[in-house]
Every structure is written in structure tokens, then in C-alpha cells.
Symmetry: C2
Subunit: 332 residues, 2 copies
């Protein structure tokens, strides 16, 4: 909107700006990692590489939940609570479906107006990547930049579309599923596999007339998680309640996450999980690049053979071998 | 053991043998698809391609459950019940961990001695693939051969090691999780994500003194599945009980599976699921081949860069790009 566009900062300016905690440099850095221009991509990688030693100090919390559970109200209440404790809080949104919004920064900020004006908070909307892989890279890199700037807690919100929860689960330390009482009643409530990813399931809207049904749901969900096998961390999924509206249960939740952090730091799981997440990120990125290259060379043939496989005219194994041989021939 | 080894059948002999329902030809065919010799691999693919039009008529049932739930007793009771209804039943085992047993055919058959001697049943132990992908291919191809021979029901047993349940889920129509009462009590009972894959959860050992605790577990598990979202098929995970020992609940379970089959045939989901499974198989196989080729060329570099990523010396995205560029250079 403004015609007074400041000149583009150099890589060195960006790096020093981010290290001294400058928000404008952060925003510029995130814009850079979200850029699709190949020249920007190369710069973005250098930026991340140079800042890597400054990252990793924040607590990374993923927040998932279907629409209607009050995610924005919750993140605002939780974020405000953390800033009162003296923490600097960054909120990132991951929503691979929001292509049309072109980064609805206004939308996100008006949803959380108390947090938006808080000097110790930073809200960044979804990057507008065209692919889930793109969104994944951009969100992870934005998170690293926020850490380099000095945020203590990163809240990563996901709307739960497609594979976005898995993406967020793979980039956070603690994964929180927000739900409401009776969400299971229509058998549509909680997406398959999400509950079992959660370190905590938090029943929101535990206020007023809701309280009896919240109590019932609390008991039921405790029963449900009781059936989950213990993960490698030894951490048992916790079920709690809160009222984001009244700010109740929010402080207790942060204490729970701190106790998770202490235990998982002591037993080495947190460091292990993060290094596994980094390795996984590398492999996913690599797979994506290989797949892209493969499709560039034999896309049409994949379609043809896939159709034959679907119609049971061709054994899937034979089809795979034929495609692989074609690929090897073409690259030559 | 015998020195009187019959000559190796030709491809044509194998095909005609399998089509006319010959068990020896079936065993030979399965041995062929399990072979790791490249020349055998080529023959195996031809065999499957030629028989493809004869496959797909069986009901494919996956059976999973941790050790101790009575899987063998259950499969024997269920298999014997099906043969009494005039069905021909094949039992395949999928256990990627059983490398050392070299195909414990004796072990599998003595575990199910009534079924082993039943002329309408066929028991085949785990193929001894070195990789999960290898076992996956071999098990799927063995299943297709069993269908071409004319089996009506294929029971695919998995021990639940590593990713074997997902593998079995991806090759069957109906996925059955066998459990026992109180299996959740030690929080180790049911592996994460497995319950939500199941079309039915069957509580075995519903006999004698167990009955009260089975009833309690039945109610609890019904509560648990109530929280799962509805899958695309519209089929709600059923929770039932049985006593494989006394043969109780076995007939009811088959009726349940038949009703699943009817509904999923009518709404088109069964055909859809199978064609998706075939496509997925092709893509998984292709990914495996690409990964193999990739590792052949840049294995050492992957190790080096992975170590740097683990130590936070290198951004995972940069590492992936470096590996990809190296690969492109090497493959020339």
C-alpha cells in the first residue's frame, strides 16, 4: 500500500538484525524463506545456515483442533498468560489450504487482538505455499528465525486440513489437541490418529452450563488415552480442561508443559526428538526433490501405467519397474 | 530333506497348474515370488501379470494383535469355521522380523494343527525378506497367487512388529484387531494408531472367569471407537467379543464381515479401496527403487550430511539440496 518501500536488506543486514532481535528484520527474513524465486531460495538457505547456532532455545508447541473448539481464543489466552510470565511468544499458523488468502495477516491478527498489540508477542499467518512440502519448509524456517530473534515459546497453530497435523507434530516438542465436550458424539469430532499424536488433550469451553458435560468427556477421554500404548518418551497423554474465555486452566497447562520439558530434557528425549525431526526433514525434502525430478521426466508415463494398474491390467510391481527403467533411460 | 527333487516347472506349467488349483504349483509360485534372484524376479512378475485377471475374488482379512491375545487359536477357529461353510481358506503370515526362522512353515503349521491338515485350508509362513518392502511385495504376490488358485478367504496374520500392521492394512479389505480384556491396563496394550485402522476390534478369551472383565473392556472400547472420526467408507469400527477356545462369537464375526462386504460392495468402497491399494503399492515400489538407486550412488554422502544435520551444523533443507545435486551429478 505504501509507496515508500525501504530498500531490500543485504544478507548480512538481515542476519545482524535478526540476532539483535529486530522485528522488521524477522518479517523480512520470513518473507525471504517464503519466496518462491530460486535466487531468494539460495539466500534463504544461507540465512538459515548462518543462524542455525542461534536456534533451538524455544519451547515449540503445536496446537491443533477442529474449527469451533476455540483455537484463536485459546492461543490468545495462552499467549497473553505467557507474556505475563515474561516470555516472548511467537504464533505461527500452518494451513496448507489457505491459498487464496495470500497470507491473511489481518485475519490472524484480528482473531487475536490482545496478543497482536502485545510487544512481547508476534503473530505470523500461514505461508501461502502451493504444496504441503512448501508450507512445511517455510513454517520450519520461520520457526527457526523466530528462535534466532529470541522468542521463548513458539505456538504453531494448525487447522487440521489434510496432513497438516502430522507436519506440525513433526516440528514441535509438545503437541496439544484442543477439543470440546461432546466432540465425539457425531463420530466426526477428532480426526483419526490425531489423538494418539497428542501430548495433551485439552477440553476447552469448560465454563457455565458446559461443566457437567465437560466432566463426562474428561472421564471418557481419560479412558480412551488409557488404551494408547506408551510412546518411546514414556510420556502419557494428559487430558485436561480449560476455559480460554475465562482464562481458567491456562496456567495449569503451562505448568504441565514445563514439567514435560523438564522430564524430557532430563531423559534426553527432547534432544533426541529434535535431532530425529531434523533428519526426517532432510529426508522428506530429499524425497520431494527426487519425486519432482522423477515427475518432470516421466509424468505422462506414470499416468498411463497408473491407469493400467487401477484397471488391473498391470501388476503394480511390474509398473513400478517399467517406470523406474524409463526414468533411468531418460536422465541419461 | 528329500533327494528326489522334482524338476523346476516352466512358467506355462506354473500358470496352468495354479489356474487348475494345484497346491504344488501354488507353493512353487510362492517360492518364485519370494526368490531374490533377478532372473526369478523377472519370471515372478510375468507370472503375476499373467494371472492378474484370475485374482481379486477372495475376501482379504488382516488379523493383528500383540502376542498373547491368542491369534493362532483364533485363526484356527475362524479358519475351521469357514471351511465348514464350504469356503477355501488361505492363511499367510507377515512378520518382517522373522529373518532367522527361514520360513518357519513347521512352526506355523503346528500352531494351527487342525487347519494344517484341512484339505480346504492352506497355511504359508512369512516370507523371509530382508526389508519391509521385500516382505510387502512377496506377501501381496503370494495373496494374488492364492486367489488365482481359487481360495475364497485370505487371512493375513501380522505379529505387529514395526510397520507390519500398516503393510497388512494396505493389502486387505477388512482389518481385524484381536485383543484381550485389560490389554489397555498396562498402557502397552495396543500400539498407537492400530485401533483406528481396525474395521473390527475383537476381544478374545471371552470365556469362564474372564467374562466380567471382557464385558467391561467391551464397554470401554465402544467408548473409545466412539471418538474416532468416520472413515471415507462410512464403516464404524465394530467392537465384539469371542472365545476362540470355545468357538464362540466366531460365526457372528463372519456374519459381520459378510455384512461389511455387502455394504462396501454396494457403495463401491471395496473396489475403490482395492484400486487405491494397487496404486499405492506401485508408488511404494517405485519409491523403493528410486531410494535404492539414490543410496547406491550417494550413500556415504548421506551419512556425512545426516551427521551434520543431527549436530545442527547444517540446515536440513540445505543438506537435501546438496545431496540431490550430488546425485544428479553422479547419475550423469
Amino acid at each position: 500500500m505504501s509507496t515508500n518501500i525501504p530498500k531490500r536488506p543485504t544478507l548480512e543486514e538481515l542476519i545482524s538484525g535478526i540476532i539483535r532481535g529486530d522485528r522488521v528484520a524477522l518479517a523480512r527474513g520470513i518473507t525471504l524463506v517464503e519466496s518462491k524465486l530460486p535466487s531468494d531460495r539460495a539466500l534463504a538457505e544461507q540465512l538459515i545456515d548462518r543462524l542455525l547456532s542461534k536456534t533451538g532455545k524455544a519451547t515449540r508447541i503445536g496446537v491443533s483442533g477442529i474449527p469451533g473448539v476455540g483455537k484463536s481464543t485459546f492461543i490468545e489466552a495462552f499467549g497473553v498468560h505467557l507474556t505475563r510470565l515474561g516470555k516472548k511468544v511467537a504464533v505461527l499458523a500452518v494451513d496448507p489450504s489457505s491459498k487464496q488468502t495470500k497470507g491473511s495477516i489481518l485475519g490472524d491478527k484480528t482473531r487475536m487482538n490482545k496478543l497482536a498489540v502485545n510487544p512481547n508477542a508476534y503473530i505470523r499467518p500461514t505461508p501461502t505455499g502451493s504444496t504441503l512440502g512448501g508450507v512445511a519448509d517455510q513454517s520450519r524456517e520461520a520457526m527457526l528465525l523466530c528462535e534466532a530473534v529470541g522468542f521463548d515459546v513458539i505456538l504453531i497453530e494448525t487447522v487440521g486440513v489434510g496432513q497438516s497435523e502430522t507436519l506440525v507434530r513433526d516440528m514441535c516438542d509438545f503437541f496439544l489437541l484442543l477439543t470440546i465436550a461432546g466432540a465425539g458424539d457425531d463420530l466426526q469430532g477428532i480426526k483419526k490418529g490425531i489423538m494418539e499424536m497428542a501430548d495433551a488433550i485439552v477440553i476447552n469451553k469448560a465454563d457455565g452450563d458446559n461443566i457437567p458435560v465437560v466432566k463426562k468427556t474428561l472421564q471418557e477421554l481419560k479412558q480412551v488415552v488409557h488404551y494408547f500404548s506408551l510412546p518411546p518418551s514414556g510420556w502419557v497423554t494428559q487430558v485436561t480442561t480449560c476455559s480460554a474465555l475465562l482464562g481458567e486452566g491456562i496456567g495449569e497447562l503451562w505448568i504441565l508443559i514445563e514439567s514435560f520439558n523438564e522430564k524430557m530434557t532430563a531423559n534426553g528425549y527432547l534432544a533426541h526428538q529434535r535431532s530425529q525431526q531434523n533428519l526426517q526433514w532432510m529426508h522428506q525434502k530429499l524425497d520431494g526433490l527426487l519425486k519432482q525430478e522423477f515427475n518432470r521426466l516421466v509424468k505422462e508415463e506414470v499416468k498411463d501405467l497408473a491407469a493400467k494398474v487401477e484397471n488391473r491390467e498391470l501388476n503394480p510391481v511390474t509398473a513400478a519397474h517399467q517406470l523406474f527403467d524409463l526414468y533411468k533411460k531418460k536422465k541419461g
